[in-house]
């Protein structure tokens, strides 16, 4: 039985006067991997930013356990919900471990030294993303895929039950995309972390997600299990795309083949 804690209620989001998301009420199932899909400019990232209180809604609310995320203390929220934005900034010459340690900030006292637990969480996160032996390397000497995994390790070290990621696979080649998604699903299966990502690739999203949110130019098109959401009708509504949906020969999940 799925419990639901993270919800939006009548959410309207926009930059300036332009509403990108209008009056959206929906829920994100707990302890599942959810992917937000949709064409460019439909507000996928905007929605994710609002879930993580990075963007204040013009109307409506985002609630976590019944509490408005904007009314929560931002540090307390940071212990429950982590977000990896699309283009974080890497300080010059920073090493992998130094980067990961900054993910522990919400857990540290104002003048406290590093606790054994902090360091343990950091090394565990690094091992989890397969960078356990790279911790002293400068970030900018890593390959693109490794670098992205290092950033993911930072939010893993933040040790939150909710993990939000904005297009974590952009710029990566296919093998690295699979690596990143596998790693997120592992985290979900092992620790019960709720993972919410924005993804571009429909087939990968179908493979790795338990739950999909499909947005179109006119707002929410469908939400639910991949088999239900990725129908030919829904794809036409969301993308204006004529496509055939067949079972993936490897996993049996829906696979989209444009006509």
């Amino acid at each position: 039985m799925t419990q639901i804690v993270l919800k939006t209620e009548g959410l309207t989001l926009g930059y300036g006067d332009r509403a990108v998301i209008d009056d959206l009420s929906m829920a994100f199932p707990d302890r599942q991997v959810t992917s937000i899909l949709g064409p460019n400019g439909c507000g996928k990232s905007t929605l994710l930013r609002a879930l993580a209180r990075l963007l204040r809604p013009s109307r409506g609310t985002v609630t976590l356990d019944g509490e408005d995320v904007f009314s929560l203390d931002t540090r307390a929220l940071a212990r429950r919900l982590a977000i990896l934005p699309q283009a974080p900034n890497a300080p010059d010459g920073i090493t992998v471990m130094e980067l990961i340690k900054r993910g522990r900030t919400p857990w540290r006292g104002l003048l406290a030294a590093w606790s054994a637990q902090d360091l343990e969480k950091c090394t565990a996160a690094l091992r989890h993303v397969g960078l356990g032996d790279q911790m002293d390397r400068p970030l900018n000497t890593l390959s693109g895929g490794q670098r992205q995994r290092a950033w993911i390790a930072l939010v893993l070290a933040q040790d939150t039950p909710y993990l939000l990621l904005d297009e974590p696979t952009t710029w990566l080649d296919l093998r690295h995309q699979l690596e990143v998604l596998t790693l997120l699903r592992e985290r979900n299966r092992r620790d019960g972390t709720t993972v919410i990502t924005v993804l571009h690739d429909l087939n990968l999203a179908a493979r790795y997600s338990d739950h999909l949110v499909l947005l179109g130019p006119a707002g929410l098109v469908a939400t639910g299990a991949p088999d239900d959401v990725l129908s030919e009708d829904n794809l036409r509504h969301a993308f204006g795309l004529e496509a055939m949906v067949t079972p993936d020969p490897v996993t049996g999940t829906p696979m989209i083949v444009p006509r």
């Binding site: 212990r79 919900l81 977000i83 934005p85 974080p88 300080p91 993910g103 900030t105």
Partner: protein
């Protein structure tokens, strides 16, 4: 570790050189003697003639260096510093206005207000339609505000009597001549207080460095943290300006030089090395300004200009090659 020791050694060497060298040379032995026995020529130079100037230079250099480091980290741009962005010129303008109008309030108060007004003007004028401030626009608008403040300072000077105008001119160029222990204690005391305030904010600076969204996700209140850091940065710069005038280029140079010497990467280490590097540069520039031409004390700002401008040029050439700018 090696880098830290190197910086400390350089700092001590700079202090020693600055105390020893001048129109009259005085050896380390005599200084040592003066330090412990409180008499003799060593004590005279230490306590009266050179000590206060060196102390003031140390403090002013350190606060300017930290201020530069704050803005460079905050805006992620090596060109962002309170001197390039006009804050020090604003502080200088307010100080010179206060003195010329004969208002009996402490100079640091004027320079702090001037620095804050300049910073506020820069932020306001650089804000675009979307309500954000692109770093390069901040830098360019800051240059403009600096030009205006400098011109307004010259305008005020025009109205001063000759003797005061000469003094004001030296001060506006950046000068450490005739500084007493009052100046040194003022900059060191205020500097220490602001450094403490800064220490409490280092963690949010380290997060802001990763980008606003990630920092917010990690529990930082972005606008409040940015505002407080910028406020601390402006006040640090104003503290330096109050005792040494709007010294050019120290804030710009100190952070990269310090980071290069110590290899520090975390903002805490970079702020500390920027303070040390700022102090070293200022003490040495002051020494050069005193000793370069026998019998004549140039304003130290002339020396930091001669040192700093080539650095800025080098920076631009390098950035051009790496295509960062």
């Amino acid at each position: 570790m090696k880098g830290t020791l190197l910086v400390i050694a350089l700092l001590l060497l700079a202090i020693l050189l600055s105390l020893s060298v001048g129109q009259v040379m005085i050896g380390p032995a005599a200084l040592w003697d003066g330090l412990w026995h409180g008499s003799g020529p060593g004590a005279l130079f230490l306590r009266v003639l050179r000590g206060p100037g060196v102390g003031t230079a140390l403090g002013a250099g350190a606060v300017l260096g930290m201020s530069g480091a704050i803005f460079q980290i905050l805006l992620r741009n090596p060109l962002a510093s309170p001197d390039v962005m006009g804050f020090t010129s604003g502080a200088g303008l307010a100080a010179i206005w206060g003195v010329s109008a004969g208002i009996a309030l402490p100079i640091p108060l004027f320079s702090a207000i001037g620095g804050l007004v300049a910073a506020g003007a820069v932020i306001l004028l650089a804000t675009d339609r979307n309500g954000s401030q692109p770093p390069l626009t901040l830098i360019l608008v800051g240059l403009g505000v600096g030009f205006f403040a400098a011109a307004a300072s010259s305008f005020i000077m025009t109205r001063l009597p000759h003797q005061e105008a000469t003094e004001a001119q030296r001060w506006l160029t950046g000068s450490l001549a005739a500084r007493n222990w009052g100046h040194a204690l003022q900059v060191l005391g205020l500097g220490a207080a602001l450094t403490f305030a800064l220490a409490l904010q280092v963690r949010s600076l380290a997060l802001l460095e990763l980008g606003d969204d990630l920092a917010a996700g990690l529990g930082t209140r972005i606008s409040r943290s940015r505002g407080l850091l910028a406020l601390t940065g402006v006040l640090l710069a104003a503290t330096g300006v109050a005792v040494a005038g709007p010294l050019p280029f120290i804030a710009l140079m100190a952070a990269p030089l310090g980071a290069r010497l110590t290899g520090a990467r975390h903002p805490a280490g970079r702020l500390a090395s920027a303070a040390a590097a700022g102090a070293i540069i200022t003490v040495l520039a002051d020494l050069a300004a005193r000793a370069a031409i026998p019998g004549l004390q140039l304003p130290v700002g002339v020396m930091t200009g001669i040192l700093g401008a080539p650095y800025l040029i080098w920076l631009l050439v390098r950035e051009m090659e790496t295509g960062d700018l």
